[in-house]
């Protein structure tokens, strides 16, 4: 007996307006002619043009993407291994410490993670640059990946792997041919999560980057500290657009896949 009352409609409308209006306003004002971001002076794409001329931003964007690709890939490999160890490796010495080290970074304030890594890099005399940011991002993103992957592994039927071993696979083959294809969706979403975490990160990158490598969030942060700027609005719009297109595409693909599966199952049921 679900009653979809006016209260529910109002709550949802106001709630989603609150969540989405600020971003919509941001997008609209990125097409504002005026330098004054609060006054509408007509439609223009000139800030996008200026953004594309701004070498510092383009460089930072390039660094950010490089860092995100490397760190998310590394984090996915390490995180999947860690998840496998947590779920499948059974007991070993230091297991408690291991699971502690997986879960602690999830709740650790970013300022502390950043600070501690910086102190490490200085301690061992590693020059700060792209490499240090990649190391830092990999470390905290791998924990998120391992949580995502292990939740899939837990619900994964162990006997499938045993069947593969029984049929003559080596453990590595069993993982590659049976386990990996089944947990692949979780691994992929883990990679995407690691990628966006890296793209998004300001605090840890600020601690671990050097003068040679500035990421986009650092650049944006130092620009907006001084106030609202139309160029940043344009940049934000581009980033929002990429994310929206990406998420919609991903959901369409997964919807199609599930529809196909449904059709196949129906066809199979009909014989």
């Amino acid at each position: 007996m679900k009653r979809f009352s006016w209260f529910n409609v109002t709550a949802l409308t106001l709630g989603f307006a609150f969540l989405y209006l600020p971003m919509i306003i941001l997008v609209i004002y990125s097409f504002n002619e005026s330098k004054l971001v609060t006054v509408w002076a007509g439609f223009s794409t000139k800030w996008y043009g200026e953004l594309l001329q701004n070498e510092a931003f383009l460089n930072a964007a390039w660094v950010t993407i490089k860092v995100a690709v490397f760190s998310s890939t590394l984090a996915t490999i390490l995180g999947t291994m860690a998840a496998y160890v947590l779920v499948r490796a059974g007991r070993f010495k230091g297991r408690t410490l291991f699971s502690g080290m997986i879960y602690a970074p999830l709740v650790m304030p970013e300022v502390i993670t950043g600070l501690s890594l910086l102190l490490l890099f200085i301690g061992i005399g590693l020059d700060r640059g792209v490499l240090t940011i990649v190391l830092a991002h990999t470390t905290f993103a791998m924990c998120f990946v391992s949580v995502v992957v292990s939740s899939r592994l837990v619900s994964f039927d162990n006997s499938l792997e045993e069947a593969a071993l029984d049929l003559g696979c080596t453990p590595l083959q069993a993982f590659r041919l049976v386990t990996l294809p089944i947990i692949a969706p979780a691994v992929i979403s883990g990679w995407l999560l690691a990628f966006t975490l890296s793209l998004d990160d300001l605090v840890i990158a600020s601690f671990t980057s050097g003068p040679s490598a500035t990421t986009l969030p650092i650049k944006i942060f130092s620009a907006v500290r001084l106030g609202v700027s139309p160029e940043i609005n344009a940049l934000s719009t581009i980033m929002i657009a990429i994310v929206t297109i990406g998420v919609i595409a991903a959901s369409l693909i997964s919807k199609q896949a599930s529809l196909r599966q449904q059709r196949d199952e129906q066809a199979a049921a009909r014989g």
């Binding site: 007996m1 969540l19 160890v85 300022v111 470390t139 980033m239």
Partner: protein, 296 residues
Amino acid sequence: MRRAILILTPYLWLFALFLIPFLIVLKISLSDAALAIPPYAPQLDLAGGWSAIKDFFAGLDFENFEFLTTDDLYWKAYLSSFKIALISTALALLIGYPIAYSMARAAPEWRPTLLMLVILPFWTSFLIRVYAWMGILSNEGLLNQFLLWTGLIAEPLTILNTNYAVYIGIVYTYLPFMILPIYSALEKMDDSLLEAAEDLGCSRTSAFWLITIPLSKTGITAGCFLVFIPTLGEFVIPSLLGGSQTLMIGKVLWEEFFNNRDWPVASAVAIILLLILIIPIILFQRNEQKQREMEG
């Protein structure tokens, strides 16, 4: 052998890049500031042998922590972080609960879409979402323009660079963390429980307070911790939306480190922040465990 490689690779990685750095912070928090590179003393010199190690430990003390108690900036910052996190959590609950409730009451075919709409902001940059409010909340911003236009106010309100702006920013960015666990608790709830309550003489309102609220308690608790814990160490929101009088510990730590270059004090600030966080984190995990037990 393969098993050893499988375990050791992530293990050593985390050991080197999570545990060791953390121990370094702990150690530096016990050191003294020095005009050197790196700017603290004593330094561990393994080449000096056993006596050097003894000297090293002799040089460690709790001076920085004592300093934190003497300068009221720090405990005020901790208190103010705590207060801001608490108020924001309460606001997020007040706003998030009706949304989660309405989502759970929506027709089943609508729910995946609504869920997706709540999760979507997660994928957009945190920084951009905070930044979006700067243009809205400023003195000439859209909110003030709107309020002036409606005639509710005669003078523009100062919201940006105050704690109010910080509350708005925190609620806005962390709202999905509040909505999702409450939604998942409410969605699991059997509708016949409410019918049974009505059947036994409850009005709709009292059935809500006697049944719906207690049954979504684990979701409410989880949501509150998920907002409260990260808010306590928040840096971006207070530095972009807050003003000079907005004291939050994440911001203090940042400034101590980058502006004052006092690494030992910054480390001590970090250690205390962690100690404060341990309690809510333990409570949160207990809540999660309770929930698992109830389902299992």
